[in-house]
Symmetry: C2
Subunit: 301 residues, 2 copies
Amino acid sequence: MKLTILGCYAATPRTFTNPTSQILEIKNRLFLIDCGEGTQVQLRRNKIKFSKINHIFISHLHGDHFFGLIGLISTFSLLNRTTDLHVHGPKGIKEIIMLQLRLSNSWTNYDLFFHELDSKESEIIFEDDKVTVKTIPLKHRVYTNGFLFEEKIGERKLNLDAVQNYEIDSCYYQKIKNGKDITLEDGKIIENEQLSFDPIPAKSYAFCSDTVYHEDVITIIKNADVLYHEATFLDSEENLASKTLHCTAKQAATIALKSNVKQLILGHYSTRYENIEMFKEEAITIFPEILLADDGKSFEF
Amino acid sequence: MKLTILGCYAATPRTFTNPTSQILEIKNRLFLIDCGEGTQVQLRRNKIKFSKINHIFISHLHGDHFFGLIGLISTFSLLNRTTDLHVHGPKGIKEIIMLQLRLSNSWTNYDLFFHELDSKESEIIFEDDKVTVKTIPLKHRVYTNGFLFEEKIGERKLNLDAVQNYEIDSCYYQKIKNGKDITLEDGKIIENEQLSFDPIPAKSYAFCSDTVYHEDVITIIKNADVLYHEATFLDSEENLASKTLHCTAKQAATIALKSNVKQLILGHYSTRYENIEMFKEEAITIFPEILLADDGKSFEF
């Protein structure tokens, strides 16, 4: 699992900082999460293959999270994309995109599917053989969802020494990987644990932005490997955070602690702060495993 | 008159090139012409004061000319703008912007006026005491206008030596600047030309992008000081230019020649070309005064 931060600053794009957008790579799939203005340039700058993005998840309809979407959709056309593109986001996103395509007398040369969200409960919105994506209902000034990306547990790993030792034919290997016991020709049953190793543990990534301090997310993201949680303000601006339905670094760390996640990545910093290290200093007093997002930074886990 | 090119490349924004946007400064007024994605970042990079922009002119509703508008309008709000903002552009632009403001539950804290265009004839769309702006109907895949910015001829300049010589009272100075003759106390009439100099000649700037080769513009832009004309392709791609309703460098130069403008600035280069000098080399065979636009470049005239 690899996370590339394309932008992690609140509000307006600036010369050297970008609004929210990130690429999550899981099991060779690329998911784009949010798409602030300039995302397509950040994709190029970070050498992300446009053609590998098939699913885009938009948390909410504030500009710093989706103003880059129409440009990216248009650019996909100019790049002669033919693969389907799926956009998951709040009700209304389809109208915004289709209106602009219609008025510019443009159309995509690929199929564009909108999956509009309006549920206030967590729901599965994507699933294939390797990955599940669930919404994390958040509490902000407009309808907002975070997203929980979970790998599915893979096959067991073959213990090559053991299978050769028992002279087991390779046609049984898939059965062993699926967790089944094997009966030898002499009728002896070999338990699966003797022939295979546990699969690589499934990882999970929770994206929570934008939201006020909201403990309802805890049951959904419980025990996640990595949590990205917005920390727009520092504790000194806690009043402003409450008023604008954002969080402080301290509050993000409290959610991480109570959710028992392994690591917390902070982001969505207000551009009023010159030094983002202060966010880490504040959060680490509550929760030890703090990482700071920054534009162009990648995390592998 | 000062022109700052924020972006002058066709189609998609890239790491080091930007779609169309430019700032024209005339008589201490800043006009923003087109607003591709990333324009607000280009404004910052070029140290343009956001608060001085009160009029935005959008040529047409292709993404590389207006996808940055919603972001700029939102950023004006975040910067606590209070001055009126006027957007002049094709019919539909209001619906695009208002839909996004409504769905994001945002509103501008300044008054936002849309002046939607749908006439196929050239018309005056802005006028104050110093400047007039007219549309230049262009021929492209969607309804498109270029814009002609004309300074108004200013007052005549007082010939200080002459007025002192004739002992003319200062209360008549404004009358002289307005071009009137003066009757002295002895009844002698002094002609205005003896008391004043010609005013600084009024300058004009014509912006023509995007369009196929279209001679109808010639009567409108005749004798302009500076013409910015799109040159998306080179002559070797003339077929592609015709097909996509764009121009070649040669065609842009032909329009400049037939319009008798003083200077031609080329821009809107297709990103297929690595070296924009080729556009100049081609155009200069037709018309001598060729300048090349490039992102971040300024021209004073």
